[in-house]
């Protein structure tokens, strides 16, 4: 199941989240929200909240860099 991370320009938490996933050796697809307002609206309608980073692991969504939440979600996914 693909992991998706939505980021924005200059967001340090987006960089930290990507660095965390890189260290874990987890592959992910990145979309930069600063570029596309249509994606923003769709995301809000789909997940009910928005902020960066927004990380989708399986059927779970995480707003912000929640290290513990991500750790647990990755364990559940494996």
């Amino acid at each position: 199941m693909p992991i998706i991370i939505y980021t924005s320009f200059d967001c340090p938490y987006s960089v930290m989240a990507k660095s965390y996933l890189d260290k874990k050796g987890v592959a992910y697809q990145e979309y930069n929200l600063s570029r596309n307002s249509l994606i923003k609206e769709n995301l809000f309608n789909h997940f009910g909240e928005i902020g960066t980073p927004l990380i989708i692991i399986g059927d779970e969504a995480f707003v912000g860099f929640d290290r513990e939440g991500l750790e647990n979600a990755l364990i559940r996914l494996s």
Binding site: S8, D10, C11, P12, Y13, L33, S37, G51
Partner: protein
């Protein structure tokens, strides 16, 4: 491992202390969740002495690299300290993930975190129009009507972050005028989409699924008004990260750790504090670094005194 010193925090204070402690060859560890402190989310830091302009993220990377360049310091990152307990020989430092470390002395540079508004609608709309990191989330409010609450430097920075995206930016300030940097304020006042509202007390954040408005009280007239905003950035100040000490150290009514400013000693022998977590009058990166160095030098004197 029993440490001589554990430093808590990875901001400018913690890193400065770590570099000095390592160079003094203390048995030292530094425990931090992240590096950079609160400036991590600043787009442009222009008062870090010796550097004309640097992003908060780059500053954080530089601090981390400088610390990692030191030999002889254990860097325990991605860990948040949750509790300090007094022991016979010093202290136990416990982290949220369940790890614990023993040390003779502690220097906390744990800094502070942002205050919340604590008004109806805030919790419900977090991530649904209410945001706390303008550098991260300003691009998500393109062509929207927004409000920034708080007239300090962080509030002004949030306005600057929103300027390229939002179609309207209100700045709500509780007092008669914004207290942030006058140069920045003068600059943003020239933007036609910017509107400053002084003497405003936020009462409620309105909306069902998303934010649709903000209710505030005009403190001069007592009148309650509603702004039709879709995005709200909260920048109303900070709270010290001092809860981990419980009753071990004396704190003031704001929760700031009270220190003796000549040495940075707290009321508890063996614990020093520096930076935004303390009752220092001016919360600044450069001051945090200087005060933390002062603390380490004083701890070093204590260690030598105990040896002789």
């Amino acid at each position: 491992m029993f440490y001589e010193l554990i430093i808590i925090g990875g901001g400018p204070g913690g890193v400065a202390a770590g570099v000095y402690a390592a160079r003094k060859k203390m048995k030292v560890a530094l425990i931090t969740d992240t590096f950079g402190g609160q400036s991590l989310v600043s787009a442009d830091v222009r008062n870090w002495i010796g550097t004309k302009s640097i992003s908060g993220f780059e500053l954080a990377q530089n601090l981390e690299a400088h610390l990692r360049d030191q030999g002889g310091i254990d860097i325990i990152d991605s860990e948040r300290v949750s509790k300090i307990e007094k022991t016979e020989n010093g202290f136990t430092v416990k982290t949220e993930s369940g790890k614990s470390f023993e040390t003779k002395y502690i220097l906390t540079t744990a800094g502070s975190r942002r205050k919340r508004l604590n008004v109806p609608g805030e919790d419900k709309h977090e991530g649904k129009g209410v945001a706390y990191c303008s550098i991260c989330d300003a691009p998500l409010f393109g062509d929207m009507i927004t409000a920034v609450i708080g007239g300090g430097n962080a509030g002004l920075e949030a306005v600057v972050d929103l300027q390229p995206y939002a179609k309207k930016i209100y700045l709500l300030v509780r007092g008669d005028e914004a207290k942030g940097d006058a140069v920045t304020l003068d600059k943003i006042k020239k933007d036609p989409k910017f509107e400053l509202i002084n003497n405003a007390q936020t009462l409620e954040i309105l909306g069902e699924e998303k934010v649709t408005g903000l209710k505030y009280k005009d403190l001069k007239t007592g009148e309650e008004k509603i702004l039709p905003v879709e995005g709200i950035f909260v920048e109303i100040g900070i709270l010290p990260n001092s809860e981990m000490f419980g009753d071990l150290v004396e704190r003031d009514k704001m929760g700031d750790v009270i220190v003796e400013h000549k040495t940075q000693k707290t009321s508890c022998p063996g614990i020093w504090a520096a930076g935004d977590v303390t009752d220092v009058l001016y919360k600044q990166n450069n001051i945090s670094a200087g005060d933390a160095i002062k603390a380490v030098l004083n701890i070093y004197d204590e260690i030598n005194k105990a040896k002789n």
